[in-house]
């Protein structure tokens, strides 16, 4: 037994070295730990052993034949030899056999220079082959836009096939044919159509599967590497940006690195070109005679300083507001709010967390007294029961999705899904197919689904007895409220039955490590905050909220939404997510800043827009945010922007909002700057510069710093590191910059306050199902995130555009038939707000009565959306609408 972990261990000898490893370790892994590399093709730590390539033979004493070390487990007293003449001879024959059919492609092969077959051949085989026969040549059936196969080079290790199945659950690749003529292909005679995660490209030990996006543009030894964090979603994957002469060439990931442990999604693997798109802004622009013209940085900054100074003097700091995107680094976010609060003297600042994630944070703060998850990805993998509510996790947060798949497929966890997905398999994986209980809901019904869960908890008598003793009133109040709602009312518009809810909560209750994962379906739909609090109630009732390994994981959409909260880039929170109104917090901040932050309550994004419309907000700073392109026209952003006297945009591209700006300042993308960001788990990770800033663009924090100097309250920092230091000193929790996050526990004090009275505030409101709005003949239109895009930024990535370049309305085949349309036809979507025509696709996974449209291409369709603002969190809900659909 090992002393530290209490795990049983085994001691063995490898090449004369004695080593102790945990029981059940494979010989090949034990050897690696002893520093002995056993050559292998088919073995991979992420995959179940397949032992098909025979490359990893070793000699083990007392075993008759050579053994494959990738499938043999260690045993006590085992004596392994990895370099004996017999082993060497075996390696030689295996390689000779592979090389008999392997083309001499190395000079033109993108794997050349980092190829296992090259390395092993170099080490173990003679330079001349004994074979004179012709080599196999596979005819190509199709060429692909992104993932290209060159099967002549395949060594048939099946790593790609197994990865696609075991890890991704996509099953897009299959071996076809026999023996040396086995070919890896997609099913069917068409090019690969899958999740495009790039996993097969990365896991292939040779150059048989390569990326077409950077094909032949590089040799591995020319590349410079920068380990950084993907800028697309809240999962915060570690990626290695590989560059050649200041050009982005490709993306890799490292086994054992980051929170993703080498897995990526299409956005991370193929989306890197967005940073260097030719449309990038490279010089500052100032509006002169109605046109934006190129000017020098000095002129642009002086214009901004002069005008904002004038607004401040004339109308006071309350007339200034700011919006920032949560794609910025912590350093940018932190300095932004410091700039707004200290230099301009206003709390009117908000970030893109307001589009939904804020609902989760406010619920966390209210019930648990914290602002981040109490669980980590590791807990998700180790969970025995998982419940997904309103999250098509595969498409929004693919790596969280992989953690769930690992828990379910490899560790046998039970999965309950409340989603608007039909559990049918398709070209991209579908989490609902893995569920033990799948409750199919329309995208506007997640709140109702959660009410159903609460009702089922009571009906099944599953209420935690400790809670019942501690807070009988709370339990009683919930019981009375929920009993008043009938199942008929709840399930009026779905095919679900009460017994399905009963079974789901029973299963959930049986788990010892139970986690609820909540996604955009809840956070961005009307009543998102209330539903989020109700989910807390479910866990409280089941006694799961405060248990180690249990908790609620709300998924962030953008890569640094958690950072925006912790840096205080919202009106009512200071850095460290401390309330602006808390005198103690203000003192602590003042100690570091040398000045107190302003006291007046700040405005949220929607409030700022309202204020601007009435002409009370005179100057607006917009940093990487695009309200005009994100909110529907009915939100009145255009009118608001028309009325402000100074609109300053710091942007990568000339977005809809930036086109109306008075000054546009070119900012850097994540690939061009250093800093840190915090993923949805609450883990701080480093962003590193891979290429020099494009043109004259500068990191956002540098721009704030320069402006502060011109405005006479200098905040000067030499590098982003200085800022990181200041942040770390102010926010102890952001100190963790390491391999794994340290999740906090719920604050018992706040929890008690909630169950002893805090719950009452809005109980009536949140335990009432929303009024039925369905009228016959209409459908629910849902703007959803696609796997292949993230916001509008990714629509500049040429790789991703090759997979998905336009918006298509997805319908259930039955609905399509009813409307008389087929995939490729066009439909008109209309309601009182307007109408738009779009192509259509019949897709089995869309439930009946629902139209799913990718939000990244919503330009024309946004007019059918109306905005409702959450009364407590100020979140604008604009992703759902009732529409009528017709064939055109």
């Amino acid at each position: 037994m090992s002393q530290e972990t209490g795990q049983p261990t085994v001691t063995l000898t490898i090449d004369g070295m004695t080593i102790t490893v945990p029981k059940d370790t494979l010989v090949i892994e034990a050897a690696r730990q002893a520093g002995v590399m056993i050559p292998h093709f088919c073995y991979h730590p992420k995959l179940a052993p397949d032992a098909n390539c025979r490359m990893c033979f070793v000699e083990i004493e007392k075993m008759p034949r050579l053994q494959t070390s990738c499938s043999t487990k260690v045993a006590e007293g085992m004596v392994v030899r990895t370099t004996s003449p017999t082993v060497q001879q075996a390696r030689k024959s295996v390689l000779e056999f592979i090389l008999a059919n392997h083309p001499l492609d190395c000079p033109v092969c993108d794997q050349g220079g980092r190829c296992d077959l090259q390395d092993f051949s170099h080490e173990y085989t003679p330079p001349v082959s004994r074979f004179t026969e012709l080599k196999r040549v596979f005819p190509k059936e199709y060429f692909s836009a992104l993932i290209e196969t060159q099967m002549n080079r395949c060594v048939q290790c099946l790593r790609c096939v197994r990865y696609c199945d075991q890890v991704m659950d996509v099953k897009a690749l299959a071996p076809q044919g026999r023996g040396t003529l086995t070919e890896i292909k997609s099913f069917g005679h068409h090019e690969l159509d899958c999740e495009f995660c790039g996993g097969c490209v990365q896991i292939c030990p040779v150059g048989a599967i390569t990326s077409r996006l950077s094909m032949y543009e590089f040799r591995p030894w020319m590349l410079k590497r920068a380990e950084t964090i993907c800028g697309y979603c809240g999962d915060g994957c570690e990626i290695t940006l590989q560059t050649k002469e200041n050009r982005l060439i490709e993306v890799n990931s490292t086994l054992g690195g980051g929170r993703n442990n080498a897995d990526l999604c299409a956005r991370g693997f193929f989306g890197y070109h967005a940073s260097t798109h030719p449309d990038r802004l490279t010089t500052p622009l100032v509006r002169k005679d109605g046109h934006l013209v190129e000017v020098t940085w000095e002129e642009a900054l002086e214009t901004v300083a002069a005008q904002v100074g004038w607004v401040k003097d004339e109308y006071g700091p309350e007339a200034i507001g700011g919006l920032i995107s949560a794609r910025c680094t912590n350093e940018d976010l932190y300095l932004f709010q410091k700039f707004m609060r200290l230099v301009l003297g206003t709390n009117h600042l908000d970030s893109s967390v307001r589009y939904g994630y804020m609902n989760a944070i406010e619920a966390f703060r209210r019930v648990q007294g914290l602002h981040r998850w109490t669980v980590t990805f590791d807990d998700v993998v180790a969970a025995d029961t998982l419940m997904l509510i309103g999250t098509n996790v595969t498409e929004t947060n693919p790596i969280t999705g992989l953690k769930i798949k690992e828990a379910v497929k490899q560790r046998g966890a039970r999965l309950i899904t409340l989603e608007s997905l039909k559990p049918v398999r398709g070209t991209i994986s579908n989490i609902a197919t893995l569920a033990t209980h799948h409750l199919e809901l329309s995208p506007d019904q997640f709140g109702i689904g959660v009410l159903g869960l609460i009702k089922a908890v009571f009906e099944q008598g599953l209420v935690d007895s400790a809670l019942e003793q501690e807070a009988p009133e709370y339990v009683g109040a919930l019981r009375t409220k929920i009993e008043a709602i009938t199942w008929d009312r709840l399930l009026a518009h779905s095919t679900l039955t009460p017994s399905m809810f009963h079974a789901a909560v029973r299963t959930f209750e049986q788990g010892a490590r139970s986690i609820v994962v909540v996604g955009q379906g809840v956070l961005r739909s009307p009543g998102g905050y209330a539903t989020m609090v109700n989910i807390h109630d479910v866990l409280l009732l089941l006694g799961r909220l405060d248990r180690p390994g249990c908790g609620i994981a709300a998924l962030a959409e953008e890569n640094n939404e958690q950072g925006a909260i912790e840096m205080g880039a919202v009106p009512d929170l200071l850095p460290g997510a401390l309330p602006v109104s808390d005198p103690e917090a203000r003192r602590a901040v003042a100690a570091s800043w040398g000045q107190e932050p302003p006291r007046t309550p700040g405005l949220t994004m929607m409030e700022m827009i309202e204020r601007a419309k009435t002409g009370h907000l005179k100057a607006l700073f917009v940093v990487g945010e695009n309200p005009l392109g994100s909110l529907p026209p009915s939100a009145g952003v255009a009118e608001a922007l028309d009325r402000v006297e100074l609109l300053v945009c710091q942007e990568l591209f000339l977005t809809e909002t930036a086109q109306r700006a008075h000054v546009v300042l070119p900012a850097c993308s994540y690939a061009e700057k250093d800093g840190t960001c915090i993923n949805t788990e609450g883990h701080t990770q480093a962003v590193r510069k891979a290429i020099e800033p494009l043109g004259e663009s500068r990191p956002d924090w540098e721009i704030f710093s320069a402006l502060s100097v011109l405005l006479d309250s200098p905040m000067e920092y030499e590098t982003a590191k200085d800022l990181t230091k200041e942040i770390r000193n102010m926010i102890p929790a952001s100190r963790v910059l390491g391999p794994a996050p340290l999740p906090p526990r719920p604050d018992r004090e706040v929890l008690r306050r909630y169950i002893l009275g805090g719950y009452r505030d809005d109980l009536d409101g949140r335990l009432t199902p929303p009024p039925v709005t369905k009228t016959t003949g209409t459908m629910t239109l849902s703007f959803a995130q696609s796997l292949f895009h993230s916001g509008k930024f990714s629509t500049k990535a040429k790789g991703l555009l090759k997979i998905q370049s336009a918006g298509v309305a997805n319908l259930n085949p039955q609905d399509a038939e009813r409307l008389g349309v087929r995939t490729g036809d066009r439909i008109e979507i209309r309601n009182e707000g307007g109408s738009a025509i779009t192509p259509v696709r019949a897709w089995e996974r869309v439930p009946e009565g629902v139209v799913v449209f990718p939000e990244h291409f919503d330009q024309d369709l946004r007019q059918v959306m109306s905005v409702t603002v959450d009364p407590r969190t100020g979140v604008p809900y604009c992703k759902l609408a009732r529409v009528s659909v017709e064939k055109v």
Partner: protein, 190 residues
């Protein structure tokens, strides 16, 4: 001159201009030798096949570029004077080719490593050495210039490769001129 010589001998030598005769002897002897220099540029020297002169890019007999843009010459060059920019040939899927190719001949040390590194013998050295110029910029040989040299001095290039045992003359040669397999596109109905 021996210091011991008598005054009489000294006088005799002086009268007969003996020293001059001694010197003239060397001159006369050389009048009957083959000349040691020749009159460049009117006359030119025969250069051995192994000579390392200006670099050239060669084509196959059918006119196709040999170079596949593999960058190996660039990697082998000790003076970093080669730059290959390769990409996929838009007209022939999956075929790699050099879109641009530069050799900064002012930096080249004529070591011949690049020729040795080339897997398809696309590079060769020629007997060309006359490219002095008042405009240094023309000494950055680009792809067109290198192929032009290759056409003009094709024989030189081939002889260089034979002489360095990188390619064989005649029938045997096939083994030394490796061509990468071209992906065959299957017709959809086949």
């Amino acid at each position: 001159m021996p210091t011991t010589s008598s005054p009489a001998k000294k006088l005799f030598d002086t009268v007969l201009f003996r020293e001059i005769w001694e010197a003239m002897k060397v001159t006369f002897r050389h009048m009957f030798h083959r000349p040691m220099t020749f009159e460049y540029p009117r006359e030119k020297r025969t250069i051995p096949d192994t000579h390392r002169g200006a670099l050239a890019l060669l084509r196959y007999d059918d006119g196709q570029e040999r170079c596949v843009g593999c960058d190996l010459c660039e990697a082998a060059c000790p003076s970093h004077c080669i730059k290959v920019i390769s990409e996929e040939d838009k007209t022939r899927p999956l075929q790699r080719y050099a879109k641009e190719f530069y050799i900064d001949i002012t930096k080249c040390v004529f070591c011949g490593y690049c020729v040795e590194a080339c897997p398809v013998n696309a590079l060769a050295m020629t007997k060309l050495y006359e490219y002095s110029t008042p405009d240094k910029r023309t000494l950055l040989f680009d792809k067109a210039r290198l192929y032009e040299i290759g056409e003009r001095y094709l024989e030189d290039g081939k002889r260089y490769l034979y002489a360095h045992n990188q390619e064989k003359e005649g029938e045997e040669s096939r083994a030394y001129r490796y061509q990468f397999p071209v992906p065959v596109q299957k017709t959809p109905n086949a």
